[in-house]
């Protein structure tokens, strides 16, 4: 691949460069794809976020993704941005401008670079001496460190690179200013000004050194967008929903939920506790919920393993609790910084014995916010643990939304059957004892929060009677099991478990996915449409209870179930529901689906299916 590559040494680098300079007209599609990559510790994430925010503030839609390792220093990491004036909701296999701080950054992204892509690098950096620039790519040697030092400090070299990228993309540098202000404002105006100067130095260097008309031109609009990731949307949803008590233990990729809440939830009378482990975290959250607070914990698969011990207690004591599982690649420590949707079975079946639980899987970042609100309402209405599951790719992906996607006036809170001092006597036995597990038609019992007069009661992980006391009575055992299951039937009747639908409802090809695959799939529909392939796409945000798709599945010619795991855990559920076979499209290499890749996968699956029927 690198046969004709040019060694990029400063000494051999001649200006103007002798790389292909013809403007390639077909490389400026509606979207622009940019990345910065280097070693962990190079400030990649922070720099990427500055550029993403600058684009967002300029009224452009942004969708970001990250390649990263779980090391704080060392190891390849990259922050990638796809931007357009139209909505973008997936990454694609294409890079237009790459800021490469290390040679490995170029190697890792070689397949995404195309004829006319631009690589910005610092040929004076020692480690870049051995880098090779592919010969179909435009290499721009910019002395990032030197220019940064001139502007006030070497640490600003990434900002110099941003300025250079602005020149390449014809993106007005003023758009960077407010993002720099936001990032560095708290550290003093001098630092902000130095950074602005550094950015301009990068831009000027490119404009003065390379007299070239690059193929890119980033328009701006007057739209106002917010830029938010999935973990933040979950945290914001929790505060909006009245969550006031959070206990957690840090784990990638769920830590951001805890970090978001810390410093914010206090403003609303809440608190975040960092527990000594996940066992403690879920028990603290359980305690908070028993005290009457809307409580939550967030973790990832390994943490769910530990929490499973207490999960059964939460469920059988009928305690409303939201357990957020931001999935990552498993099993065991797996690939901690990689994408996977492998925990459906764990959440549905984890724990000994049998006990109902709800599992919600938001499909987009804004949906993370709304499903969090919904999770708290469902937990309290049905006094049941609710798994709220996102995955790594959604958790760490920033995306732009119109601010009204998070309209706080639309947040509704339903606390369910909480009794007060007036209504409590309806729920007492002849001895005046409160019945926290009263047998009811809808399966939901009254709830007396501690402090309620005459409400004192116990509950336990032991099978219990209506008073919450241990029992081994065979009839009561059956009645309590049936009562808990009845809550699910009630919820299935009373709540809306509809999926989201896209594409052509008349198409014979049905694609079903759950969780974060929605964005890539929605874009894949457009790509397939260009090739006259029509798709009906159902995106499912509810794992349990879930919509019954039997009719849709049995009436389609081809049913393709897309998920980021090896075995097709959701496909298993759908087959079970519909008593019919589906085809599975699975990805488990640790990277989320990209729209163009998914379109190819679907085409291939349809071709194979056609071949099989011929």
């Amino acid at each position: 691949m690198f046969d004709n590559a040019q060694k990029c040494r400063r000494s051999t680098f001649q200006k103007p460069f002798d790389l292909p300079l013809e403007r390639v007209d077909n490389i400026m599609p509606a979207d622009f794809n940019w990345a910065i990559g280097g070693e962990a510790g190079d400030g990649i994430d922070s720099t990427g976020k500055i550029f993403a925010r600058a684009l967002s503030r300029a009224g452009r839609h942004v969708f970001t993704s990250k390649d990263f390792a779980s090391r704080i220093r060392g190891g390849y990491t990259a922050y990638k941005i796809r931007t357009s004036v139209d909505r973008v909701q997936s990454v694609v296999d294409r890079l237009d401008v790459l800021i490469a701080l290390t040679p490995r950054t170029i190697d890792e992204n070689r397949s995404e670079l195309h004829d006319g892509s631009v690589i910005i690098y610092d040929g004076e950096r020692t480690t870049m001496q051995n880098a090779t620039i592919p010969d179909d790519v435009i290499g721009l040697d910019v002395p990032l460190k030197r220019l940064a030092e001139e502007a006030g400090g070497a640490i600003m070299r990434n900002v110099v690179a941003l300025g250079a990228a602005c020149a390449v993309a014809d993106f007005p540098i003023e758009n960077l200013d407010s993002a720099l202000q936001k990032r560095f404002g708290s550290k003093g105006q001098k630092l902000v000004d130095n950074n602005k100067e550094a950015a301009r130095a990068g831009r000027d260097y490119v404009q003065e050194t390379y007299d070239h008309d690059f193929a890119y031109d980033l328009d701006t609009t007057d739209e106002d967008y917010v830029l938010i990731n999935g973990d933040e949307a979950i945290g914001m949803g929790a505060i909006a929903a009245g969550c006031r008590f959070y206990a957690g233990y840090p784990i990638t990729p769920a830590t951001n939920v805890m970090e978001y809440l810390t410093g914010r939830i206090e403003n609303y009378g809440g608190h975040v506790v960092q527990a000594e482990d996940e066992l403690s975290a879920i028990n603290m959250a359980l305690g908070g919920a028993r005290a009457g607070a809307r409580a939550m914990t967030a973790t990832s698969g390994p943490g769910i393993d530990l929490m499973t011990e207490t999960f059964g207690l939460v469920a059988t004591s009928e305690t409303p609790l939201v357990i957020c599982n931001v999935m990552r690649s498993g099993p065991s420590t797996g690939m901690p910084t990689k994408q996977e949707q492998g925990d459906i079975n764990q959440m549905l079946y984890g724990g000994h014995g049998e006990i109902p639980r709800f599992v919600l899987a938001p499909t987009t970042i804004d949906d993370c916010f709304w499903k969090t609100v919904e999770a708290f309402n469902l937990a309290e209405k049905y006094q049941i643990p609710v798994y709220l599951t996102a995955d790594l790719s959604m958790a760490v992906t920033e995306q732009t939304f119109a601010p009204d996607a998070f309209d706080m006036d639309d947040v509704e809170i339903d606390r369910g059957k909480v009794v007060d001092e007036e209504s409590i006597d309806e729920w007492q036995n002849e001895k005046g004892q409160f019945k926290p597990h009263a047998l009811t038609d809808d399966g939901v019992s009254p709830r007396a929060l501690p402090g309620t007069t005459e409400g004192a009661h116990m509950t336990t992980g032991l099978e219990h009677d209506e008073l919450g006391r241990r029992t081994e009575d065979t009839e009561m055992r059956v009645e309590q099991v049936d009562k808990r299951n009845r809550k699910v039937e009630t919820a299935q009747e009373q709540e809306d478990w509809s999926p989201r639908e896209f594409g052509d409802p008349e198409s014979d090809t049905l694609v079903i996915s759950w969780g974060s695959n929605e964005g890539a799939m929605v874009e894949a529909i457009d790509l397939l449409e260009e090739e006259a392939i029509s798709i009906r796409f159902i995106s499912v945000p509810y794992i349990f209870p879930r919509p019954d798709l039997s009719e849709e599945i049995t009436s389609a010619d081809d049913v393709l179930v897309v998920e980021c795991n090896n075995t097709g855990q959701f496909a298993d559920l759908l087959e079970h529901d519909a008593l019919a076979r589906v085809q599975r499209i699975n990805k488990y290499n640790g990277v989320r689906y990209k729209a163009d890749e998914l379109a190819e996968e679907i085409k291939a699956a349809l071709a194979a299916s056609q071949e099989a029927t011929q």
Binding site: S56, D224, V226, L227, I228, E232, M236, I239, A240, A241, G242, R244, F245, A247, Y268, G269, H271, V273, A275, E276, D277, L279, S280, N283, M284, A285, L286, G287, G288, A289, R290, A291, G292, A293, R294, A295, E309, T310, L313, S317, P403, F406, M408, D409, V411, I413, K431, L449, P450, G451, T452, T453, A456, H457, M458, T459, T460, G461, R469, R470
Partner: protein, 287 residues
């Protein structure tokens, strides 16, 4: 809180299934007396219990209560107290629950110094599973799973607590009813984590650490010139391998509780019926 609460108000109508003569009867009675004496009533009290003979206590007492999983009672109590600091929270456990499976939580609960009390019924044996070694069993204590004794030194819970930064360390004996109730009462009144290790003899499976043993060997710190605020003096008593003590061995009244340190005073159960008024500020942050 009503002033006419009697300790029997904390008693449920469920008859304990502890063995006749079990130390846990006396331990529980003292807990109920201490709760009543400190002006609490069942409707503002939350008792958390773990697993083991001690774990049954939530059933025999009357209050808001949770009987949880093995070893995790302290985190539950922590959550209850922080979510509603107006509640009186008492956590009960045994030596297995607190010093074996739950020892990690014990250390961190001590460090955290949440204003609640922790009463451990220490009988130096696993009773509910019919007589295996516990972490406080003596090195040569023969049981069904340790025929020649555990051959490892017992845990010293008071020393663990002291090294973890405890602000209140006490020890009592279930059959010295008045002193036990007084000591638990002091733990409740302490502004922070009030830890009481209670010698609560198992009459069925432990023929070494018996009522007679404790009656004969316990030294009450009230009968000495011990100064409970003196850290070094407390350390000497706690590490004394020759004697066992009852009473408040250490108290630091100057340390802030977790709630004081974090400014927690409100009942978090009270929330608006929609998003908070200024919740849109949260969205604005993301511009």
């Amino acid at each position: 809180m009503s002033s006419d609460v009697r300790f029997t108000d904390f008693k449920s109508d469920k008859q304990p299934t502890w063995c006749p003569g079990c130390g846990d009867f006396g331990t529980m009675n003292g807990m109920m007396k201490a709760l009543a004496n400190t002006g609490n009533d069942p409707d503002n009290t939350f008792v958390v219990a773990g697993i083991g003979c001690s774990g049954k206590i939530g059933t025999y007492m009357h209050s808001y209560a949770l009987h949880g999983v093995h070893g995790r009672a302290l985190p539950v109590g922590t959550g209850v107290k922080l979510a509603n600091p107006n509640l009186e929270v008492m956590v009960a456990g045994g030596d297995g629950d607190g010093y074996s499976i739950g020892v990690g939580h014990f250390i961190h609960a001590v460090r955290r110094n949440v204003d609640m009390s922790y009463v451990v019924m220490d009988n130096r044996i696993y009773g509910l599973t019919k007589g295996q070694a516990s972490p406080t069993s003596r090195e040569d204590f023969e049981t069904s799973t340790t025929p020649e004794g555990p051959k490892q030194p017992p845990v010293n819970p008071l020393a663990l607590a002291l090294s973890a930064g405890a602000t209140f360390i006490a020890q009592s004996f279930s059959s010295d009813a008045m002193r036990h109730a007084e000591i638990v009462q002091e733990a409740i009144e302490h502004d922070g984590f009030g830890f009481v290790n209670v010698f609560s003899p198992c009459v069925t499976f432990n023929d070494v650490d018996t009522y007679d043993y404790f009656r004969d060997s316990l030294v009450d710190v009230e009968d000495t010139d011990h100064d409970r605020t003196d850290y070094d003096a407390a350390k000497d008593l706690i590490l004394d391998m020759d004697k066992e003590y009852q009473g408040v061995l250490y108290q630091n009244e100057d340390a802030a509780s977790y709630e004081q340190a974090h400014g927690l005073t409100e009942n978090m159960a009270e929330i608006p019926d929609g998003a908070p008024d200024d919740a849109t500020d949260l969205v604005r942050e993301f511009y």
